[in-house]
């Protein structure tokens, strides 16, 4: 199998320039040097695990471009481009589209007036796409994605403003296993998750706040923010290796390891990676 391939964007212009989620406060600015260091360490960690990293050119005035998870949803060589809810991030769309087009992806756009924030809100677990809605993405956008890629989509309502993207409270590890902070979902979403995923590794409130769920899976290694020992211990018991690295400067903007990456060859848990079509 080819090496894992991850898209990242250097944090040259990263900073807290606006407030579009409860984590962000312009009064609590990110330490730029520290951010650069944390980002570089993360990238090196991926490389040490055998992943190839590609870089999106940073753009002044687009501080959140660093969170490449929100660029698009990748399905084989198709990239379903995000349509951001907040105008502050809409400027990222053409840069994401251009990079993906230039690198051989068929870029698809959803209907206008629908919001969809890519792999931040849509994660494959086996043959099912779990999709967060009501905070940043629109349930109709997920339904449109389902029709386009002919796959089952389970929309999950996000109810806690701190967990505004699905990848802040849910992380698939394999076909039937995922990490989840269940209180971030409404009652129906919790039931749907329990019904479809026999192995849910719970994350408590403290570690969820440390972005434990915002993890990157490379093979059977889970890369996550430091400060989540309970989850690391649960993961090891389930047969996963863990690697933690400090990402505090990005948590200030409401992101962590997963938000800083877009898996171009598909996430480990995506069923479509294992069968051709």
């Amino acid at each position: 199998m080819a090496n894992p391939h991850i898209l990242m964007c250097p944090p040259d212009y990263y900073g807290i320039e606006y407030e579009i989620n409860p984590w962000m406060s312009r009064a609590r600015q990110a330490d730029h040097q520290q951010a650069v260091r944390q980002w570089s360490d993360l990238k090196e960690l991926f490389q040490s695990l055998g992943a190839k990293t590609s870089l999106l050119t940073p753009v002044a005035g687009l501080p959140d471009l660093v969170f490449t998870a929100n660029a698009a949803l990748i399905f084989r060589r198709r990239a379903i481009l995000s349509r951001f809810l907040h105008p502050q991030r809409q400027g990222e769309e053409p840069h994401n589209a251009r990079w993906l087009e230039e690198h051989g992806f068929d870029v698809e756009r959803l209907d206008e007036a629908m919001y969809f924030e890519g792999a931040g809100d849509a994660l494959f677990c086996g043959d099912t796409l779990f999709a967060g809605y009501r905070k940043r993405s629109d349930v109709r956008a997920h339904q449109q994605v389902a029709r386009r890629i002919d796959c089952r989509v389970i929309p999950l309502e996000l109810v806690d403003p701190y967990y505004y993207h699905l990848d802040t409270c849910f992380c698939p590890l394999s076909d039937d296993t995922a990490i989840a902070h269940l209180p971030a979902f409404d009652e129906y979403g919790q039931r749907a998750l329990a019904e479809h995923l026999p192995h849910l590794i719970p994350v408590d409130a403290d570690e969820a706040r440390s972005f434990a769920c915002n993890a990157v899976v490379i093979g059977t290694t889970v890369v996550l923010n430091s400060g989540c020992p309970k989850l690391e211990s649960s993961l090891r018991k389930s047969g996963y290796a863990t690697r933690s690295t400090p990402l505090s400067e990005f948590v200030k903007a409401g992101g962590s390891a997963k938000c800083l990456t877009l898996r171009l060859d598909g996430e480990e848990a995506a069923g479509w990676k294992r069968h051709r079509g």
Partner: protein, 410 residues
């Protein structure tokens, strides 16, 4: 008295709404918010990948309450069908619709396309709706005519249906309040059918007659000939049997070997219908037989002479058949479909299969009278959705004789 929950709106929700519990969530929300709902239609995906669709009627006791409910359930994907454009999916293969296609009724239908409501042309039940982006038009399309890449309407969003109003007291069909009965005063019914035929002829509207061979066996061929000669019939749909027995009668004076004038069975008469078919086949067709003077009377003769277009559709049990009979059922159905477009009144007489076939093709606003000795024919038509059909349970001969009398053609 006004209904307590008189404010209502139809909404559609689709996707993996059962697996994700989105549908129960929406239903729970409606109830919790003081509204109520009715599930008008639900189709559940067969495989894990197939989406499900539900059409719900949401009701509330005030417009404000309804609007609040609609606003909230919209966030979960339940959209008022009148608020959005119809959803289009390009046909991915020939001669089949995309999954979840909107299945048509025979009622007048409109779709919302690029913000405007447009009428669906060629209304027919059990079809899909195709959009022509160039013409900005929509039309019903049978499954077999789907072309790859054609935009097909999927789901209920942006589709609205206008059910035909029930006949009013002033309608000429008021006598037909109950769709089928053996105990109706036939005289009144026949008078009103005569009025309908007269009005159609005056207005230049087209009347279709769908007939079975009993018209000939029962000796009422001549009544029908009179209707044709007087210009009351514009088109005839039948099978091999009606035409064959009519021609047998014209050539040999018998119908299935029985003399129609005296009821006697003629020796070797059972061969007559085959000989009749053979003779027409030797001429090349019914029109040629009329032109060459071989066929000089009967229903088919009158059709040719008076320019009544006919479609003869074959069946597996046909003898011959006559060369004019279309033996490919799909082709026959297509020909019939083309020929019903401008019909405004239809008389179905003594045939079950042809009546149902035509009933399937007609939009609900075409008035249909079905005359059959067997009440089940009319019931079957109704069961298959041709609700506009009114039935007369009677023998064909007295019916046609009275109709001809009523029209002053006797």
């Amino acid at each position: 008295m006004a209904d307590r929950e008189q404010f209502q709106e139809d909404v559609e929700v689709s996707g993996h709404i059962i697996d994700s519990l989105i549908l129960p969530k929406i239903l729970d929300f409606i109830t919790a918010a003081g509204g109520s709902f009715e599930i008008c239609k639900i189709s559940v995906g067969q495989t894990r990948r197939d989406p499900s669709h539900a059409l719900l009627r949401v009701k509330a006791e005030s417009a404000e309450r309804l609007s609040e409910i609609l606003k909230t359930i919209a966030d979960h994907g339940a959209l008022a069908v009148t608020d959005s454009d119809c959803r289009l999916v390009e046909a991915d293969i020939e001669r089949a619709f995309p999954e979840g296609f909107y299945s048509t009724t025979n009622q007048r239908t409109q779709v919302r396309y690029q913000g405007a409501w447009i009428d669906v042309e060629n209304q027919e039940m059990d079809c899909g709706i195709a959009i022509d982006p160039q013409r900005r038009s929509a039309s019903c399309i049978p499954m077999l005519e789907v072309v790859k890449g054609q935009p097909i309407v999927v789901g209920h969003a942006g589709v609205r249906v206008f059910p035909e109003q029930r006949a009013t007291a002033h309608d000429s069909f008021e006598f037909m309040n109950s769709p089928v009965s053996t105990e109706k005063p036939k005289g009144v019914a026949i008078r009103q059918i005569a009025n309908q035929l007269r009005r159609a002829r005056e207005d230049g509207a087209k009347t279709l007659l769908v007939g079975g061979p009993a018209i000939v066996h029962s000796g009422s061929g001549e009544h029908l000939c009179r209707l044709i000669r007087a210009g009351f019939i514009s088109r005839l749909f039948a099978g091999n049997a009606l035409a064959t027995h009519d021609i047998e009668q014209a050539l040999f004076g018998t119908s299935l070997g029985v003399r129609l004038d005296c009821g006697d069975i003629v020796e070797a008469g059972h061969e007559h219908h085959l000989r009749a078919i053979n003779r027409i086949r030797r001429c090349g067709g019914i029109c040629q037989a009329v032109e060459s003077g071989i066929l000089q009377s009967g229903i088919m003769y009158e059709c040719v002479k008076h320019g009544v277009d006919f479609v003869l559709a074959g069946s597996i049990r046909d003898d011959g058949p006559l060369p004019d009979v279309i033996t490919d059922v799909i082709e026959a159905q297509q020909r019939m479909r083309e020929r019903v477009r401008d019909i405004s009144f239809c008389l179905m007489i003594a045939t079950t299969l042809h009546s149902i076939a035509v009933g399937n093709l007609l939009p609900a606003w075409v008035k249909v009278v079905c005359v059959d000795i067997n009440p089940s024919t009319v019931i079957k038509l109704n069961d298959r959705g041709s609700f506009q059909t009114v039935g007369l349970v009677t023998d064909v001969e007295p019916f046609l004789r009275s109709l001809v009398g009523e029209l002053g053609l006797d």
